[in-house]
């Protein structure tokens, strides 16, 4: 299994330890915001537990940085449980995180809808209940590239995760109770849809080679964030065409009210630089306006990534006054910061 770093264009020591070493670096760089418990393999807000505040815990495979560790801090997550790269964390981590941040007001687990994440968080919630901690689990499944049906694993959780962490985190900070925080997170998930495309594959450090082959000039349409191939492969389109495809996919599934105020989140998958993300954002805004929607908030950058994959995703969130004011509320994390 030992993979030589010479097969990759990556900054690594031992490929197997990449996730853990990155967390140590995150903690070294942001000691004012968070701490990394290497034993329990969790990232916890520096001032946790916050007495009387509902605690928000999320987690999932690594390789999606800054998700989730970069979103630990005031107004967002109380703890993150990072798994191995592209592999859901284990229940022990989630239980440790839950106990570390429980301030007596209950804990909300934000779970991206992947078989592994769902099952591991389920086992952890059972363990937490055994220890007397009430956990509310909220499932995020916003990826419209995946058909939702009783006979599949359901839609994946992607970009809406970032928005739910921010908005539910603000609700917890304002003093909402555990049911209300969970309800807000569910509302974000209900009013958000995402769609992604990839222009390259990506290489998990321990694998040492790309997950799939994608010739230059083609794109994978409908990808998630785990280097999976998408729903179909097509010749690469212009940014204009790609934006139209993304906007059409999310708008037709979400069916927002006409004239709705929306938050548009153009996310980079890791290897696509800001120049291209802003270029795409311009096209997305054009597309949204053509659909009669009004972007009033934007987030542009690599916030939920797939290692160094080239590509982007669009997440659209239909806002109401409460969601908007929670979005605008102060946040102080490694990756998102305003008002604090």
């Amino acid at each position: 299994m030992a993979t030589a770093i010479q097969t990759m264009r990556k900054l690594l020591n031992d490929p197997e330890q990449a996730g853990k070493e990155a967390l140590a670096g995150l903690a070294a760089a942001h000691g004012d915001i968070l701490r990394y418990d290497a034993g329990a393999q969790i990232v916890v807000r520096a001032d946790a537990p916050r007495k009387g505040k509902v605690a928000l815990v999320s987690g999932g495979g690594a390789g999606h940085e800054p998700l989730h560790g970069g979103f630990v801090g005031l107004g967002m997550l109380d703890a993150a449980c990072p798994g191995e790269i592209f592999t859901s964390p284990v229940p022990d981590q989630m239980l440790a995180a839950t106990k570390a941040v429980d301030g007596g007001a209950g804990v909300v687990h934000l779970v991206k809808n992947y078989t592994g994440d769902v099952m591991n968080f389920k086992l952890a919630a059972e363990d937490a209940a055994d220890e007397g901690i009430a956990v509310e689990s909220v499932l995020i499944d916003d990826d419209v590239a995946v058909q939702d049906s009783l006979y599949t694993a359901g839609r994946r959780g992607v970009g809406a995760t970032v928005l739910a962490e921010k908005i539910a985190g603000a609700a917890a900070e304002r003093g909402d109770d555990v049911a209300a925080v969970a309800a807000i997170a569910r509302r974000v998930n209900e009013r958000a849809r995402s769609f992604g495309i990839a222009l390259s594959s990506c290489t998990p450090p321990s694998a040492g080679k790309p997950i799939f082959d994608l010739p230059v000039g083609e794109m994978e349409v409908g990808v998630g964030i785990h280097g999976e191939p998408g729903r179909r492969r097509e010749p690469i389109g212009t940014a204009h065409e790609i934006a139209d495809l993304m906007v059409e996919a999310v708008v037709s599934d979400l069916s927002p009210a006409s004239g709705a105020k929306v938050l548009a989140f153009v996310n980079g998958l890791g290897g696509t630089p800001l120049l291209e993300l802003y270029l795409l954002y311009g096209e997305v805004e054009r597309g949204l306006r053509a659909h009669g929607l009004e972007p009033v908030r934007r987030l542009v950058g690599p916030f939920i990534t797939s290692l160094e994959m080239a590509g982007a995703s669009l997440t659209l969130l239909e806002l109401d006054d409460d969601l908007l004011s929670l979005w605008d509320a102060p946040v102080h994390t490694a990756a998102l910061r305003w008002g604090a």
Binding site: M1, T87, V90, D92, T152, S206, A207, F212, H226, R231
Partner: protein, 218 residues
């Protein structure tokens, strides 16, 4: 050490896990390759990490523990070290399999049928996969059926285990033309067709390892 009271019709949990770990590790790249085609390219790494954890836990564990307890320890270790889909699934499988044995001092063929029955039920309970969904169920199910039928027919344990291993392997191969309806591969829709399921493939290896776990000295 487990005490074995007869030749060739008892199984050692430690030997099973040792052989399974060796087989998984030898095939890790292949498993990861299969997972790259329709998943996220970590199945070989996941299972290797888990099986190493299991061996370490068994080595550290109570040397006098009965097979059921060993299986529970192995299952817990998988849950705590693997993550992903395969961790909770195989972890719960072994935990429930172990619980089915209770404190029985030995694991014989009949006991193994109980173990695998409980394991399959646990996998389906947690993962809700049906046969034909292109998952580990498609290897574990046929293995259990073959084992039960051969033992019911009076075959010796080693032959029954060989049949179970063949059935698991055949079941894994039969996942190739299936369209995945569970797990990551289901995201691919029709593109999942034409690839063998990694979890079914590793399951076949684990079942095959039972054949090397027969206790041949008394």
């Amino acid at each position: 050490m487990e005490t074995s009271i007869a030749v060739d019709h008892m199984l050692s949990v430690n030997d099973w896990m040792n052989q399974a770990a060796a087989a998984i590790e030898a095939e890790a790249d292949h498993l990861t390759q299969l997972d790259s085609a329709i998943g996220d390219g970590d199945h070989g790494t996941n299972m290797t990490r888990g099986m190493r954890g299991v061996l370490a836990a068994l080595a550290d564990g109570d040397p006098d523990a009965p097979p059921g307890k060993r299986l529970i320890l192995a299952g817990k270790t998988l849950v705590s070290t693997v993550g992903g889909a395969s961790g909770p699934l195989w972890g719960s499988a072994l935990r429930h399999g172990g619980r089915a044995l209770g404190d029985r001092p030995e694991l014989d063929g009949a006991g193994l049928v109980e173990v695998l029955t409980a394991a399959l039920a646990a996998v389906q309970d947690l993962g809700a996969a049906e046969p034909g969904d292109k998952t580990m169920v498609d290897a574990l199910g046929p293995a259990l059926t073959a084992l039960r039928e051969r033992l019911d027919a009076g075959d010796p344990l080693d032959a029954a285990l060989a049949a179970a291993a063949d059935a698991a392997q055949e079941g894994a191969r039969a996942t190739t033309p299936m369209q995945a309806r569970k797990g990551r591969a289901s995201y691919l829709g029709e593109r999942s067709v034409g690839h063998q399921d990694p979890g079914a493939t590793s399951t076949a290896l684990i079942v095959r390892a039972l054949g090397s776990a027969l206790v041949t000295t008394g």
